[in-house]
Amino acid sequence: MSLALDGQVALVTGASRGIGRAVALELGRLGATVVGTATSDAGAAEIEKALADAGAKGAGMVLNVTAEGACEALIGEVEKRFGAIGILVNNAGITRDNLAMRMKDEEWDAVIDTNLRAVFRLSKLVMRGMMKARNGRIINITSVVASAGNPGQANYAAAKAGVAGMTRALARELGSRNITVNCVAPGFIDTDMTRALPEAARDALLGNIALGRLGRPEEIAAAVAFLASPAAAYVTGTTLHVNGGMYMS
């Protein structure tokens, strides 16, 4: 079966760096028209350049996923410029790590707002078009932390596990319209987000990875591309773990 995405329009949030960037480029390489979002003009310009350099169709756009009005406007603009969105990749995410005893309400709220609430908001906004098309793929980037837990990440783990539960509910709700909803749960991937960890923490984590190395963003992008492709037509409500054997369920 085919992995080709010709004629599809994909929206990837948080696409200027790391996993989101790799996902945007991979979907573009497979033929999709890709809109990648970033929170800054510079980020959006970078996405646009990366897509163009790779010979992919699409654009970079500015979006703060926590702003309802901005999300609605962006979806409208994408549909006007490129057509109905058939693939949504909810990738944008933040961390505000702190021990639970020290975690402030703002740290909790910021992570829940960006990593959980915004995923629902954007999913809801693209549903209408997908229902009409009787076709759609929603792919949420979660984390190994949602299953395995991690000290200092109560907020992040809660948000990501929340997304996984929401994914299963949406998969049931939208299945009759041929819309699949799945998660990809990266393990320890070499990105700016994980580079921010102290070295001792990195070393401890590496010891737990069966494959003995960090993952590459492209290895997550490959899993996302599979779920977006016709080859994954019968996969819904699941979480695809891509973690080098760091966590096995």
């Binding site: 209408r128 229902m131 009409k132 709700e173 939208l174 009759s176 319209r177």
Partner: protein
């Protein structure tokens, strides 16, 4: 020009995959025409498109029969 009732019935027939002749003005989408909850949401979407309007969620929830749809359109929309 078809009247509102005919246009509504036509959309209901298309959305729910039923024969237009089976649709009566008093038909309930769920109880008589076999719609599930997602079908009713889609039906409202289709009505919004046909009559070029936005039906707020709290109003949409009250539209459960053909009659109610026709009444809503007559009361709120430019024809």
């Amino acid at each position: 020009m078809e009247n509102i009732e005919q246009r509504v019935k036509k959309i209901v027939a298309e959305q729910l995959g039923v024969n237009e002749s089976e649709i009566k003005i008093e038909s309930s989408f769920v109880d008589d025409l076999g719609a599930d909850s997602l079908d009713t949401v889609e039906l409202v979407m289709a009505l919004e498109e046909e009559f070029e309007c936005e039906i707020p969620d709290e109003e949409a929830e009250k539209i459960t029969t053909v009659q109610q749809a026709v009444d809503y359109v007559n009361a709120h929309l430019k024809k």
